[in-house]
Subunit: 241 residues, 2 copies
């Protein structure tokens, strides 16, 4: 595990959000359960949440390969939801109930260390999102969760999804910084490797519960990142703040 | 003066920044004076600041008409600075000194009510910039001044400058809101009229000192806006927060 302190020249940190800042799984399970209880619908909401998230990468890849034109995560989530409702035999939801459920992704809860960690990091660095979530989703989530960002950046601004290089280069351009002055923070190796290939500094943060107690979250062992941190408080310490 | 409370349905406020949130004139005069003192250069810095700002609209219009390709405010400021240094016979500044001076626009100071007003407004609404300043300028300024935004939006994201309609429509799209759910806030009638024509709600905020004690700031008398406020605290009151 790298614990390199090679952070000289870093001015900004860009954060992956789903899984890295917020616990999408527990949040989605809770929202589904709440709606199910109010509607008298009983299903395996853990499986439902995992399937919903599981449809995310294939849907984004359809955009990345051009099979779909640019489509926001909100719309991709909604497409996935419509399919899942059929697969799970869930009927009788109104348009407004479906919309509310789809917007559960705007109301994801942060990991316990996220808010304090970001606050500490913001004292010395620019802290921005760099998420595949659309801007409005990220803004709503930050308001809901009480997270403060210096800047909300999204794949949406480049018309590409991570790990396409355009996402990272657009973010660097908007921040007015060279890639080497930016550290990408994520719990996902593919995101960090893509950023690293463009010259970004990188920080891996472990989120062992991202896919639930029996899920297989990524581990930092043997990965070539500038920082490897247990959580955002550990990241702050390793950044010297 | 309109004091209409027609704010139902407003979810977000988008703020013009130069002149509306920050006192560009006093800030630029101070930065020029500081550099001048350290370099032993004595000039009429009030006139220098007014000329620098005065070159802003013509330069943006060159972009708006296509005479220049998309050019950031940072670059437009720098073009203006180079011209002004010649006109004022100022020589001997290093590249790093010129860059520091140009970045004075990243360090503009807020009006005394701006920070508290935005904080109050953020308790109930999304508060975003919608400025012709580039994203990095706005992020640096917010860090410097201690302003917290929910989202930093800029003309840069549409490749057009205000009052081009693309700026407002891009912002609405990114916020995921209909224009009627957004209130544009500015001390400038042209900005508000352009937003209003697209369906935005509008709030005029008086900044009588924007152009200095003897300058001619815009007045709200007779203007057709949903709110007219003396400052951001008055705006907060009129928004019911």
């Amino acid at each position: 595990m790298s614990t390199s302190e090679n952070i000289s020249g870093v001015r900004a940190l860009t954060f992956d959000v789903f899984g890295t800042v917020v616990d999408w799984r527990a949040s989605i399970i809770r929202e589904c359960s709440l709606l199910g209880r109010s509607k008298g619908i009983d299903r395996d909401w853990e499986r439902f949440a995992d399937s919903w998230r599981g449809g995310y990468a294939p849907a984004m890849n359809m955009v990345r390969t051009g099979e779909l034109p640019w489509t926001s995560i909100d719309s991709l989530h909604r497409m996935g939801l419509e399919r899942l409702l059929i697969e799970h035999g869930i009927e009788g939801l109104s348009e407004s109930e479906k919309d509310h459920l789809n917007r559960a992704w705007h109301r994801l809860e942060p990991w316990p260390d996220s808010i304090e960690g970001i606050e500490r990091i913001r004292k010395r660095f620019i802290a921005a999102t760099l998420s595949n979530g659309n801007i409005s989703l990220l803004v709503d989530m930050a308001k809901h969760a009480g997270i403060t960002w210096d800047c909300v950046l999204s794949s949406e601004l480049s018309g590409h999804y991570k790990p396409d290089r355009e996402v990272y280069l657009t973010a660097a351009g908007l921040l007015g910084l060279e890639p080497g002055s930016i550290m990408m923070v994520a719990a996902h190796t593919d995101d960090l490797l893509a950023a690293q290939a463009l010259g970004f500094k990188t920080a891996f943060v472990s989120r062992p519960l991202e896919f639930g107690p029996s899920g297989r979250a990524e581990e930092a062992e043997g990965t070539p990142f500038d920082i490897s941190a247990r959580d955002f408080l550990d990241l702050a310490v390793k950044l010297g703040v």
